[in-house]
């Protein structure tokens, strides 16, 4: 191979590599991202069975039910609509009724959302950003 | 003074730093490719070292040497052009003068906008040890707290601090302090009553069983204690035992001196219940006032209290306009206007009530009877 051919081969190899990486990235972006919904948004949403989403809203007052074992049930509301959530795990310290929360998981067959992670905030005055914005859009929450 | 002096010194130091190169004799200029040559020489030495320890092979070392040599040659070529531009010292001096000036101007200017030079440091320890005469309320309290943290068995200290907490709205702290005072110095009507009040305040105005027990202990020490009686009655009314509540308040209205704030409060509660101050008549039910209202009423002058009552009356009036099928409400409204001495409005309320309840209905008849009992006649 001449010098020029070698150079071309190296550049082509680099491009193929970058192309493959870019392809993989975009494939992953299509497959592995999870959408964020508030309960009222779910009517309009088209969800595949078992599709992972992030569900955000406020923990409905009086909805927390602790079972016999380690499972906890509660409801997430955006004041317009409410979704029941099941979760087996340790709830965050700042998980409280009436507070903002983001649950990640998917819907089970019975219409209950099964969360595998529940996120509240480290900071007692702070609302998860997505929830705060969602509530603002719905006009139910005004930051002071 | 010390601050301004130090600030001036800092500014001077900063300005001197900018001026520094102009205060010294110019350093011998060692510019240009000399540095690069040094680097390359150093690289050559490194190649030698690596070659001697066998880290790189002989051929590899030879190639590296040749390459560094080429770089040195290239450097020598480039140097021929030279970079000896005459420097304009005048512009330099001008620029550095501007910079030297900019430091104090910017510094002091921005500080004038941002800083609070008049505000001294307020270290907590210093604040807690200075003369009590100069201390604020908060500081005195903090100081007492510090003292009590170190001497938790000082009942007297808790006794002094507890009512202050209560007034500051630090209700949970007040509860603890009253409990400590009682534990260490024994029960008194003051302490038990205070504990009860703190418990009520901490529970947003609800008289809990704990609070009730405290008030009862206060009355065991001093059966005439006004605060304990008032709150016990409030507790009864919250439980729906309006007759008991009214009895207690009526007693208070009767036996307390006229200038006691508790007497006014008791009478007001009676008015709220719709119970006359004399015994023997039925009392109508009404929601308990919130803690804020009680507190407010207790601390008010009589004028303010009147204003507040009028406010509550007009609220009631407004509510009845929206929601007129409420015999109880109409009775209270008529009675309230009558108590306030506004006869015309009392009669007006009666007329509206009768119309709202349905002229000729049984309820309208009861309202009319109730009103005539108060001396309000239908027009």
């Amino acid at each position: 191979m001449t010098r020029k051919q070698k150079r071309l081969a190296v550049i082509a190899g680099g491009l193929v590599f970058l192309g493959a990486a870019a392809g993989l990235t975009f494939y992953a972006l299509g497959q592995k991202t999870s959408y964020f919904y508030m309960p009222a948004d779910l009517h309009a949403a088209v969800l595949q069975p078992g599709q992972r989403i992030r569900l955000g809203g406020l923990v409905e007052e009086g909805s927390i039910v602790r079972g016999q074992g380690t499972e906890v049930a509660f409801a997430v509301t955006d004041t317009q609509d409410t979704v029941k959530v099941r979760y087996a795990g340790i709830l965050p310290d700042l998980f409280r009724e009436g507070q903002g929360v983001v649950a990640e998981g998917s819907f089970a067959g019975d219409g209950v959302f099964v969360a595998d992670s529940v996120l509240a905030k480290h900071d007692e005055t702070y609302m998860p950003k997505e929830v705060a914005e969602g509530l603002k859009e719905k006009g139910v929450w005004q930051p002071e | 003074m010390f601050f301004w002096l130090t600030a001036a010194l800092l500014t001077l130091a900063a300005s001197t730093a900018v001026l520094w190169p102009f205060l010294r004799a110019p350093a011998a200029a060692h510019e240009g490719a000399g540095h690069d040559i040094e680097v390359y020489r150093d690289q050559l030495r490194e190649v030698e070292r690596d070659a001697s320890t066998g880290l790189v092979g002989a051929a590899e070392a030879e190639e590296a040497r040749a390459e560094i040599g080429r770089r040195i040659l290239r450097l020598a070529d480039g140097r021929a052009g030279g970079n000896t531009r005459t420097t304009s010292d005048r512009i330099g001096r001008l620029l550095v003068s501007a910079a030297v000036l900019a430091v104090p101007v910017l510094g002091w200017g921005a500080y004038a906008v941002l800083g609070s030079p008049a505000l001294p440091d307020q270290r907590l320890e210093a604040r807690l040890t200075k003369s009590p005469a100069e201390s604020s309320m908060d500081e005195l309290v903090a100081r007492a707290e510090l003292h009590l943290r170190q001497n938790p068995q000082d009942g007297r200290g808790w006794d002094v601090l507890a009512p202050i907490y209560l007034r500051m709205g630090r209700n949970d702290d007040a509860v603890t302090a009253f409990r400590n005072a009682i534990r260490l110095d024994g029960a008194s009507a003051q302490r038990e009553g205070g504990l009860g009040e703190a418990l009520v305040a901490a529970a947003q105005g609800i008289v809990s069983t704990d609070a009730q027990a405290a008030f009862e202990r206060a009355l065991a020490v001093d059966p005439k204690d006004a605060r304990a009686r008032y709150f016990l009655a409030l507790g009864y009314s919250q439980e729906g035992k309006n007759a008991d509540a009214a009895d207690l308040w009526r007693q208070m209205a009767a036996d307390l001196p006229a200038d006691s704030p508790w007497r006014g409060a008791a009478r007001q509660e009676l008015a709220r219940l719709g119970a006359p101050e004399a015994a023997g008549q039925t009392a109508a039910s009404g929601p308990a006032p919130t803690k804020d209202q009680v507190d407010a009423a207790m601390e008010m002058s009589s004028e303010d209290r009147l204003a507040m009552i009028e406010g509550m009356v007009s609220q009631l009036d407004a509510r009845l306009r929206e929601n007129p099928a409420d015999l109880d409400g109409w009775q209270r409204l008529v009675r309230s206007y009558q108590v306030l001495g506004r006869q015309q409005e009392a009669r007006d309320a009666l007329a509206r009530g009768v119309a709202a309840l349905g002229t000729g209905s049984a309820e309208a008849a009861r309202l009319t009877a109730f009103a005539s009992g108060l001396g309000v006649a239908q027009q």
């Binding site: 590599f17 991202t33 959408y35 340790i90 | 800083g115 907590l124």
Partner: protein, 661 residues
């Protein structure tokens, strides 16, 4: 008066940074030595002033001066002294002051240590540093002033966020910032090279140790942050692919690439333009990280209350520096002398491959981190990109990179012999295969991926050992000679081997925890036992306990080993910080060997039990231990005489050194 003096010093530092940014730059254009010489005293004084400001703020925190808003918001008279001290940078304002303190510290170090640099280069570098200083000092003074006062002063503070009341706060942010800000030096050198239109030979000599220094700190900062989140969040995870974590990881990836490309540049005078670009990108990613963390534009498990107006300011800083640098690069890069071509199979070829993988990996992390922002801006959908994305993109990029790591140090410069190198690595390869098979047979027959992971980790460690063995002459020389030569090897050789082996250890820890961790999730009443990973936990009950500024219920678990032998206790707690009325969970961790038993408490249940989540995490400590080994490798390289900061010593000194040698 200390508080106001601190405030004044900070304002003065701003003025001085402004001078430092402008005067030497003009001086360098005019070839005016005295104007250029303003840079050093200005940088030193700016550092002294910022240090004074920082000391004043520290004094205010330590003495609980609640007339300072920052102290009132983040401190409490009863807070333990250590947290009063670390609380200085526990708040946004204080942490930005720490940022600027470190920035000016590096500026001062260049001023002191750079006397041998060409004056023009030194003046321009310090001017660029000054510009960054101006931007961030201005940011502090206008949007987040730690010296704002309160009058009258409250008597008690609102306490520091309990999550931050931890030794982790003492270690993690300073290390992280030393890393982030350390890259500003490489950035400043890159900008200086672009402004001058030439790259001095001294350039590469300087950029490499500074990059290495920043890299060592950043490695430590990320590792400590990961360990802190691991034990503080109580989830048992060590990495969540959270935006805030990615924000620190991207500069690390780019910085690692820079580290390697700087070697090529120094040794072969090649890859110059790429190295300049990488230096710009690395610091840009540091700035982006600061922006992401401070603005709260992305949802993060590590984020605290944030303020969008600050975000806009940092975004402006970001745009100015990144945009400016890239424009300058576009204009000037063509005028820089390009380096020579080289053979693909060579040390430099391997390093280019390393750069290709690392920068692509950094790019995928960047895409994954920013994609939610883009989607929201374009379509309004709120999405999140989490671990599944990164596992699918990042891991496939890393595996081949890790596979080629052992080849790099063994290849010769200019013309490598891949076949010969492969032969030399045969032993290491055999060892890795053996480890894979052992893992497959003895640990889990079905977990082929885990076994391959163990093999990969072993490959890295054995590869590093092979490198050392070959460089000391084995197998060709007698053992005694080899030992002597091993001892005489340059420290940078050890540094490389240690860093690569440390990477292997981290991989080993990650694979082990991912594949072999055991988890139990149960409700326990006092006296109940639960078994996890061969250890038995007996719950003894909850005891209330009073801390300085919190109350806690502490759960005690008695641990017994496989054979029932007593192994002591592990304690976990649920705390309530009284001032903020904020609950936290303190996980209980016991280290056995290289693994850890991890217990986290949940809620109380009705029957008087408590929800307990317990893990056995085999080899988990290697994740951070490996990072420490990497740091040690970096530090050892820094200590190498050949890398010792800066251009060569003046001739006289050099001669003396040679005489001594």
């Amino acid at each position: 008066m200390t508080v106001e003096l601190g405030h004044f010093a900070l304002v003065l530092a701003l003025a001085l940074s402004l001078v430092q940014a402008a005067v030497p730059l003009v001086g360098a254009r005019m070839e005016h030595p005295r104007l250029m010489a303003v840079a050093e005293p200005a940088a030193l004084t700016a550092f002294a002033l910022v240090a004074l400001a920082f000391a004043a703020l520290t004094a205010a925190h330590v003495t609980s001066d609640f007339s300072v808003v920052n102290v009132w918001e983040n401190s409490h008279s009863l807070k333990p002294m250590l947290y009063k001290f670390t609380g200085v940078w526990g708040s946004h304002e204080g942490s930005m002051l720490l940022w600027v303190l470190i920035l000016t510290l590096f500026g001062a170090l260049v001023a002191v240590g750079g006397r041998n640099l060409p004056q023009r280069l030194r003046a321009t570098v310090l001017a660029v540093q000054g510009m960054i200083g101006v931007a961030f000092t201005l940011f502090i003074l206008t949007t987040s002033n730690p010296f704002a006062r309160l009058d009258p002063a409250p008597i008690e503070g609102r306490d520091l966020n309990p999550v931050l009341q931890d030794i982790g706060l003492a270690v993690h942010p300073p290390l992280l910032y030393l890393g982030y800000v350390g890259f500003s030096i490489s950035f400043a050198f890159a900008i200086a090279a672009l402004i001058d239109g030439r790259i001095d030979a001294a350039w590469a000599r300087w950029v490499r140790p500074w990059t290495l220094l920043a890299w060592v700190f950043l490695t430590g900062g990320i590792a400590m942050g990961s360990y802190w989140a691991y034990y503080e969040l109580g989830w048992g995870g060590f990495w969540f692919w959270d935006p805030v974590e990615n924000a620190s990881f991207m500069p690390w990836l780019a910085g690692t690439a820079l580290l390697h490309s700087a070697i090529v540049m120094e040794k072969r005078a090649a890859l110059k333009i790429w190295t300049v670009l990488l230096a710009i990108l690395t610091f840009s990613l540091s700035l982006l990280g600061t922006f992401l963390v401070r603005s709260g534009v992305l949802t993060s498990v590590h984020a605290f209350a944030t303020d969008p107006t600050r975000g806009v300011f940092i975004l402006a800083i970001l745009t100015f520096f990144i945009g400016g640098a890239l424009v300058l690069f576009a204009l000037r890069a063509p005028s820089l002398a390009a380096g020579g071509l080289f053979q693909p199979v060579s040390r430099e070829g391997a390093l280019v491959l390393n750069n290709l993988f690392l920068s692509t990996a950094a790019a995928t992390v960047l895409v994954g981190t920013l994609y939610p922002l883009v989607v929201e801006a374009v379509g309004g959908d709120r999405i999140s990109v989490g671990a599944p994305f990164f596992n699918l993109t990042f891991v496939p990029l890393m595996v081949p990179l890790l596979l080629i790591v052992p080849f790099g140090p063994l290849l010769a410069w200019k013309r490598g012999d891949l076949y010969a190198v492969a032969q030399r690595l045969l032993a290491a390869f055999g060892g890795a295969i053996a480890v894979t098979l052992l893992a497959l047979v003895f640990i889990d027959r079905s977990a082929a991926f885990a076994a391959l992971g163990f093999g990969l980790a072993a490959w890295l460690v054995f590869g590093a050992l092979t490198d050392l063995a070959l460089k000391s002459g084995l197998p060709g020389v007698p053992l005694a000679t080899a030992a002597r030569r091993l001892a005489g090897l340059p420290r940078s050789v050890y540094g490389t081997a240690l860093a690569h082996a440390g990477l292997g250890l981290t991989v080993l820890g990650i694979v082990s925890v991912t594949a072999l961790e055991a988890e139990r999730f149960v409700t326990m009443k006092p006296g109940d036992t639960a078994e996890v990973g061969g250890y038995t936990l007996r719950f003894e009950g909850l005891q209330p306990r009073q801390g300085p500024n919190f109350v806690e219920d502490r759960a005690t678990f008695v641990v017994a080993g496989r054979g029932g032998e007593a192994l002591g206790t592990v304690m976990a707690a649920k705390r309530m910080y009284t001032t903020r009325q904020m609950p936290t969970t303190e996980s209980g961790i016991r280290t056995f060997g290289l693994g850890q038993l991890y217990v986290s408490l949940g809620d109380l249940t009705e029957g008087g039990g408590i929800v307990v989540r317990a893990w056995w995490k085999p080899l988990v400590t290697l994740i951070w231990g490996g990072a420490l080994v990497m740091m040690a490798g970096g530090a050892l390289s820094l200590a190498d005489r050949r890398l010792r900061v800066g251009a060569p010593a003046p001739r006289r000194k050099a001669a003396r050194q040679e005489a001594a040698a």
